[in-house]
Every structure is written in C-alpha cells, then in structure tokens.
C-alpha cells in the first residue's frame, strides 16, 4: 500500500469523499431526470418503467421510451463535453478554451448541412455520421495548419487555426443554407443542441467513441500535467509534449465530436465545467479530469430538467445551458481570479 501523502499534496481521502458526493449528486439528477417532465409519473412507476416496461401503463412507457434514452444520452454527452473541455484547456494552456476551438463544432455543422442539402433527408443517424466525420476532418485540418513551422503545434497557433477553420466552415454553412432553403429546417433542430427527440440508436452509435475518448483522456492526466509546465520543462521531465498534443486532440475529437454529433453543439458546458473544477481543486489534471467527468452531466441533466418544466412546450437543452450558465459563469470569473494552467 502506498504511504499516505501529506495533506498539502492532495489529501487523497478527502478527494475520494468529494468524488463520491459528486457521484451521488449525479445519481440524484438521474432520478430527477427520469421522474420530472410534462407527463406526471409517480416515483414508484419510475423504477418499474426503467426495469420492467412491459406493464404497459402510459407512465411506464413515458419513462422507458422517452426519459430513459434522454437521460442516458445526457450522461454520455455531459461526460464527453466536460472531459473534452478539461483536456482542451490543458492542451492549449488556456483556462477559457472550449472543446469546439479545434474546429469540431464548425466542421460538424458544415457536414450536417451538406448532407441534408445533398440527400434532402434529415435522418438523425445519417446526421450523426456526417457530424462526426465533419468534426474529425476539421480537427485534422486545424492540426495540419497549426503544426506547420517552427516549434510544431504550439497552443496559440492551434487556437488561431481553429478559429480560422470555424469561421470558414460557418461561412460555408450559411452559404449552403441560403442556396438550399430546404436544409434550414432540418439543420435548425440539430443546431440548437438538444437531448430530446434523439433515439436510443443515436446513443448506441456514439457510445463506443465516447468510451474510447474517455479512457484516452483519463490516461493522459499525468502527461497533461507535465505539459502544463511548458514544453521545455515537460520534456526535461521525460514527457513527450508532441505526442501528448496529438493524443489529447484525438481524445477531444472523439469526445466532442460524438457529443456534438449526438446532441448538436451544446454551448458552454465544456468551457465552464473544467474552469469551475479548477477553482475548487487546483490545477492537478489527475483531479480536474475525474471531477469534470462527474460534474458536467449533473449540470447538463439539470439544465435539461429545467428546460422541460420551465416552458409550456419545452426549451432546448443548449438554450438552457447558455441562459443559466453564462450569467453564473460571469459571476465566477469576476469573483475569483482566473486560474491559468
């Protein structure tokens, strides 16, 4: 058994407890997400709806056919976005970097629009694959542009290349939509960012990618720590900054690409969650990554629940996260010092 580290360096026990509490909060949000919504479902029916939907009552059907897939998708998308944001901020050494910075969102949107324009179909599954391909393509392009020249893929250059690719792809997206009006309707729904209306098959398609991205990201915690000390110091410690960046970017594309493909671009979560986590636990990625992984789905499901009950129809999740998250985040930034990485 390894000896306990002094409290100054982590206090492992206390982190274990806090992570357990966060996991409990996630469980509570999941129960809320299954139980709360437009159609009233008594708590007792929630459980039977999840595990034995054959009872056939309307309440059980709501839980099993609508809320369960939506909740599972929320967990997966939330985890993916929180983790992708944490990795992205560590890679760029920028405390306010967003996972979409690598061009992922812009590329995904462009690909979806092109597919809808070309096929006149708005099959969700086709959109998922298109979005994923677009995200990966854009990220590869950003990497190729950013890695050219002296010093390789320096963070600032990656961010600039990402901004450029995002700008170009959103211009193209707008152009395609203006030329082919029929794409607008199908795209609009995808673009808002929503957990509702996506069926179980969508989740199953993206799940392997999210799982792979999650494992990859968590394995990168220590190399990302080394990267945070600068390329020279990191290399002097025996890490390989170039390799860390490539693997980190791959994790971001897997995670953010699948989340965006499944639920559309959900603003803000990937930016705010790791930021909030760092204010609480400091800059050690071995803590930042798991905390972000657990906190993000709590917030996303919370936003989704609020969206369900706040409006007579229903508010899209992406709108709620932006509406609630932005002011909250502004307050946090003003209060605490911005922590660098």
């Amino acid at each position: 058994m390894p000896p306990p580290r002094p409290p100054a360096r982590g206090g492992r026990g206390s982190h274990r407890l806090r992570l357990a509490l966060l996991a409990a909060a996630l469980l509570a949000t999941v129960v809320g997400s299954l139980a709360i919504g437009a159609g009233h479902v008594p708590l007792g029916r929630v459980l039977s709806g999840v595990f034995s939907p054959d009872g056939g009552s309307r309440a059980e059907l709501i839980v099993h056919e609508l809320r369960l897939p939506r909740t599972l998708l929320g967990i997966a998308v939330g985890m993916a976005l929180g983790l992708a944001g944490a990795v992205m901020q560590a890679l760029t050494r920028n405390p306010l970097a967003e996972p979409g910075l690598l061009g992922v969102n812009g590329g995904a949107a462009l690909a979806v629009v092109l597919v809808i324009a070309a096929t006149r179909a708005d099959d969700v599954l086709v959109c998922v694959w298109a979005a994923f391909a677009g995200a990966a393509g854009a990220a590869a392009l950003v990497y190729l542009i950013g890695a050219r020249g002296r010093g390789g893929a320096a963070p600032a250059r990656l961010v600039l290349a990402g901004a450029a690719v995002n700008a170009v792809s959103s211009a193209l997206t707008a152009g395609v939509m203006l030329l082919t009006p029929h794409t607008f309707g199908g795209f609009r729904f995808w673009q808002v960012g929503s957990l509702g209306g996506r069926e179980m098959p969508v989740l199953l398609r993206v799940l392997p990618f999210i799982a792979a991205g999650t494992v990859l990201a968590l394995l990168l915690a220590r190399p990302l720590n080394a990267l945070g000390m600068g390329d020279d110091a990191g290399r002097a410690l025996g890490s390989r900054p170039g390799r860390t960046r490539v693997l980190g970017a791959a994790a971001v594309v897997l995670l953010c690409g699948s989340a965006t493909a499944a639920a559309g671009p959900i603003a803000f979560l990937g930016l705010a969650v790791p930021f909030i986590v760092r204010t609480a636990v400091g800059p050690d990625q071995r803590l930042v990554l798991p905390y972000s992984l657990l906190l993000a789905p709590v917030l996303l499901l919370g936003a989704d629940i609020i969206g369900r009950v706040s409006a007579p129809g229903e508010l899209e999740t992406g709108i709620v996260t932006a509406f609630l998250g932005a002011p909250l985040f502004a307050v946090m930034v003003r209060r605490g010092r911005t922590r660098d990485l």
Partner: protein
Amino acid sequence: MTRLRAEDLTLAYEKRVVAERLGVQIPDGSFTVIVGPNACGKSTLLRALARLLRPREGTVYLDGDPIGALAPKRLARRLGLLPQSPLTPEGITVGDLVARGRYPHQSLLRQWSREDEAAVTEAMEAVGVTGLADRVVDELSGGQRQRVRLALVLAQRTGILLLDEPTTYLDIAHQIEVLDLCARLHEEGRTLVAVLHDLNHACRYATHLIAMRGGEVLAEGPPAEIVTAELVERVFGLPCRVIADPETATPLIVPAGRRRTLTAENL
C-alpha cells in the same frame, strides 16, 4: 572519462546556424559554468546537452550512449534541467509542484511510492522550502520561487543538473543565495552545468569554466587558470583588469574606466 560530452555539434535554428563542429566535455563532479556574450550559443549548447534541441550534426553522449537514443524518461532519471523560463500552473502549491519532479520515475502502474515521497521531502529540505509546502507558488517571492524550481529538479534525483541562467530576474542578494545553494549541491557530489551572465559570479562559483564566442569555445578550464584580461577582451570585447577577488581570491573582472579613470587629481 566524462559522463556528459558533445562531439562535432552543429547547432541551428531553422536556417540560422549557431555553432559548427562544437565539442565540449563536462568533467564529472564539476560545477561547470558556460559564459559568453549574448547570442554566443551558450544557451543553445545547454539545450542540446539536455536534448531540447536536436543537433543538425554531431552527437551528445551521456554515459557513453548517444542521448538521442535514450527513452525520454530514462534520460530524465539521469539528467535534470532547470529551463530559463518554466511555466508555473496557476494555483499550484509548492509541494505539488516539487512532486511533479517525480514524473520520470512514475508510470501508469507505479503512481506514487515511498521513494517518491522521500525524494520530494529531501528536495524541499535541501533548498529550504519545507515550511512553504502548502503555499501557492504564485504568491512567493522571486528568490523563493527559484528555490522551489530547483527543488523540483532535485526531486528528479539525477546526478547531473543543467541550469539555464538560474539567476536571471533575481536581485543581487537572491542571486548569491541561489548560487550558494548550487555550490552546496555541487559539494554534495552532483555535476552542475550552468549558463550564467555574470562573469564574476562564474569565476567565483565555477570549478570549470567554458568561455564561448560566436559558437566556438575560446577557452576552458578552472577560472583561476584561464581568466585573464586578454581572454575577457577576446570573449566580450571588453577592456578590463583582472584582480583577485578580496573575498575568495578567485579572478575578479573590473571593466576599464572609459569615462573616469583614476588619476592623481581625483584620488
């Protein structure tokens, strides 16, 4: 036999060649200091010795192995480097930062061992920052921060330490404090290689001096044997006198007075 040596190095950034056919040997157990005017290639040489810069030609050898062939972590267990301007993750505590020096000794399967703990404790004690372990690094003074960074490199437990301008940005008192600390680390048996700007500091602390200009080594050896007014003029283009340091009897460079010199009238 020297553990660390370089042969026939051609060092270049992009198109600009900094040094050609450069060879140096770092005597084992020495406190070697590399001096020279700005842009003479001294930091570039240090970067090549630490494998931060891949030489265009030539080879750096560590214990007889070309360092280019060593696995990064294996190299980092034998050779430590304090870079010129390392980044400090904001909000990190002293203890956490020093603990990151254990990176090359850890792996997925071997996360945090008793030996890691001992190395970190020992490193913090060696530079006198044990009492600061819980403090946030950003809040420390420049001198304290430099000691913490030294502790990080010490926690690596390498026999050879490379220091790239360890006294830059420090006031004179903290410069001496850091150099005294380096001298003690040297006395404890480590080989130190430092790039320093201040020639007088170099003469006082080095056991082996390497004087460079324009990518070439003009002289090397113990300061007392090689530092003369002629050498200083050749290396820096500075007319001067070299006298014995009244404190340590090492060479002390006094730049020639160009505006006011000592005459019978102003004496």
